[in-house]
Subunit: 446 residues, 2 copies
């Protein structure tokens, strides 16, 4: 069988099959599992890339029935039960297809830019490890440029950071940039005062953290304000270019904010593989590109194909397609379920429909600041932050990474520092500088 | 005063002046100090970039008389006492020059490729952090390509690694790749056996580690053999291209080795700033581009300009230009001396000529394997490795980084793992993927 995607859903599914009597091929474009809930910490220099990325091969090295394939999935032949692969750059005689008896697709999502694809070049995401590293260089370089510049307008534009989207990722990025400017970098510069940086969080809805109770949204807004973040809710971003953003209020008034660093954390769209599967199997696909799957995560008419994670909506007991939260626990539970369903099939047992257990919501804002909604109890401030810390350390893969992250966090907590704030954007170096040649991009897919 | 270069020499000089009555501007192209002796560990996935790089601003944040300038030095006006800067990409109104009363230049060196500039695109160095990260992706991708490939010749070329240069860097890289292939990755693949990788260390001289006693060279060769590394001494690389290398023996016979990963660690050339200073001041420059400085590290006729590190040769008591080892301790001692000389001048005191104290030589080969030459005692194997470990941890900047590196090394030692073996080459992603735009290269200079 084949599993596409080494995210939370994919590795959970494979892990659940490592003792089963099946041969599993795990396909991903990257050679590592990314602990996405902490990617924003890489983007702000609190953690290093190796702290949040763990090699897929290392996870499954002792599982002899599991093989990992580094490849880019471009499509499917559902009748022929084959996955189609793009030619891998640099590989002269690689496979073009991989056959399966059972297929699990967990290819995730990306940002949609509200349909304005041209904004993508100006508004940066922090979804992949590479994008987080590039954003880290961009943010740090903004302060460096401001320090060098003799032009007040240029300084101000460099020291203005706009974050679009008031969900957990937007809130976390805004809080971290606020902390970076107001605390970590406080003493670092001579010509500028980083505390004068403007950090602006924009959301079209009336409050941030919509998935949390209103009381916690209010507390988060207050915490952000203490970190110097201005929250602009009920305002839409209607333009993004190289010089800044245009923001429109509901009354139709617009304003222009000069900013050289715009972070995009709004509007998710499912992997293009969801739409492809929908077309091939005649299944429903919603506006965000999510495929509707049955209550057992299979595609209707294709019991051999399971799709999961934030690229799907799942039918409930009444046949209604439900969008589950696009968070790690949902993907983990679905991956766990998919593995169990396959094991049950091997044993000739039936499997109950998938049921999502919402264990709660957690978002961190800064050092000692977080909000936690555990349904039975709502926490904010330091207690919430401790819960956040323990939960994230627990789910982080690799005992070594747990210790390293704990060490880094402990130091940050007490010293207010961020050791990993290095500008090491490889793309800044030209060809022929003793660097291996760049490998062309693998676009989309798993 | 101005200090060019945030390497070992430069930061030592600045550190020695943080309490002196001078205003110091430290100029570097990068925002971090790189702990270069461990860069090869980043290139082989044992350490993460943040573990060996420390922000320059963080080092000097509490030194109010020190400012850090992120810029690329292109030249000097010795009469006008000005340093010339390249326009920084992205900065519209940055400074073009910086004035000085005293100038310290510590801009280091790069690899020379024996004058074959066209080899640079095929033979990768591990000198900068960026190059180490790119080499890490290249090495890991070689195994991935071999795993995917159906062509035995392609597999073999991908699994052949040639390291050119038998100095400490070449030996360390060869040992690390040997360990990676024979140990860390042992269980990671299904189609290939990484233990069958060929790792070849080539040097034109008759033994590796020329700066060590012959007995330690022999021990290092034996240790390398145990890690699966073939040492080819007395053989010159006479050709490098995309398909491999050509190696010529002294008897004129040549052989061709098909290899897709060639690491260059031979033939160092001084920063171009050394030749510029030589021309401007009429001072001697040797074939490797190194400037000759007086016994007090100043340029003859320019007592206000000190030059140090592996971009210079220093006159001894007899006026003979001496090449000191291009290692961190030499640069540190020179930086320390330069700061003392300036403090002495401020206090109206004279300063004795610089005297290099060689405290010994150390090179590591692998887990528990190293050679140490402390003059009074020669060590190899585990005792040498422990000395190497303690020395490197001691010199590593940042208490947090010391702990993190210690944690990572402890885990590697006991688990034989390398957590940081992620392929995250930013250049592999195309433009318009939500990444900040690339900033054009700053070439050469500090």
């Amino acid at each position: 069988m084949v599993v596409i995607g080494g995210g939370f859903g994919g590795i959970q599914a494979v892990a659940g099959l490592r003792k089963a009597d099946v041969e599993v091929t795990l396909i991903d474009r990257r050679n590592f599992h990314l602990f996405q809930p902490l990617t924003y910490q890489v983007a702000t220099g609190a953690l290093s890339s190796g702290d949040v990325a763990y090699p897929l091969r290392a996870i499954f090295k002792s599982a002899e029935n599991v093989r990992v394939l580094l490849a880019d999935v471009t499509g499917f032949d559902l009748a022929g039960r084959e996955v189609q692969l793009a030619p891998t750059p640099g590989v002269r005689s690689g496979p073009a297809t991989v056959g399966y008896d059972t297929l699990i697709v967990a290819a995730g999502s990306s940002y949609s830019y509200f349909g304005h694809e041209d904004w993508r070049q100006y508004a940066y995401e922090v979804k992949t490890l590479e994008s987080a590293l590039a954003v880290r260089s961009k943010i740090l370089r903004a302060f460096e440029t401001a320090e060098l510049s003799a032009d007040p307008a240029e300084r101000e534009a460099e020291m203005t950071f706009v974050i679009v989207g008031g969900g957990p990722t937007g809130v976390e990025m805004a809080g971290q940039i606020g902390e970076l400017a107001g605390d970590t970098l406080r003493q670092d510069f001579r010509a500028i005062d980083p505390r004068q940086a403007r950090v602006i969080l924009v959301d079209g809805l009336d409050r941030i953290l919509q998935t949390f109770p209103a009381s916690l949204s209010a507390k988060a807004t207050r915490s952000l304000r203490q970190l110097g973040v201005t929250t602009m809710t009920g305002q839409m971003v209607t333009g993004v270019d190289a010089e800044g953003v245009t923001i429109s209020a509901k009354d139709g008034s617009t304003q222009r904010i000069a900013s050289r660093t715009v972070i995009w954390a709004a509007g998710v769209t499912a992997s293009g593989l969801a739409a492809q599967l929908g077309e091939l199997a005649g299944a429903e696909v919603d506006r965000a590109g999510r495929l509707t799957v049955e209550a057992d995560l299979t595609i209707a008419g294709h019991p051999e194909v399971l799709v999961l994670g934030d690229m799907v909506r799942v039918r409930d007991g009444h046949g209604t397609a439900v969008t589950l939260p696009g968070v790690a626990p949902a993907a983990i539970q679905e991956g766990h379920y998919a593995a169990k369903l396959i094991r049950d099939r091997l044993d000739g047992r039936g499997t109950k429909p998938f049921h999502y257990r919402n264990k709660g919501n957690v978002a961190t804002i800064g050092r000692g600041r977080a909000v936690v909604d555990l349904k039975v109890v709502r926490l904010s401030g330091l207690p919430a932050w401790v819960v956040w810390l323990v939960v994230h350390l627990f789910y982080l893969i690799g005992f070594e990474n747990r210790i390293v992250v704990l060490v880094r966090w402990s130091f940050s907590f007490f010293t207010h520092g961020r050791a990993a704030r290095v500008i090491d954007d490889l793309r800044a170096l030209g060809p022929g500088e003793g660097l291996p040649p760049e490998v062309p991009a693998n676009r989309d897919g798993a």
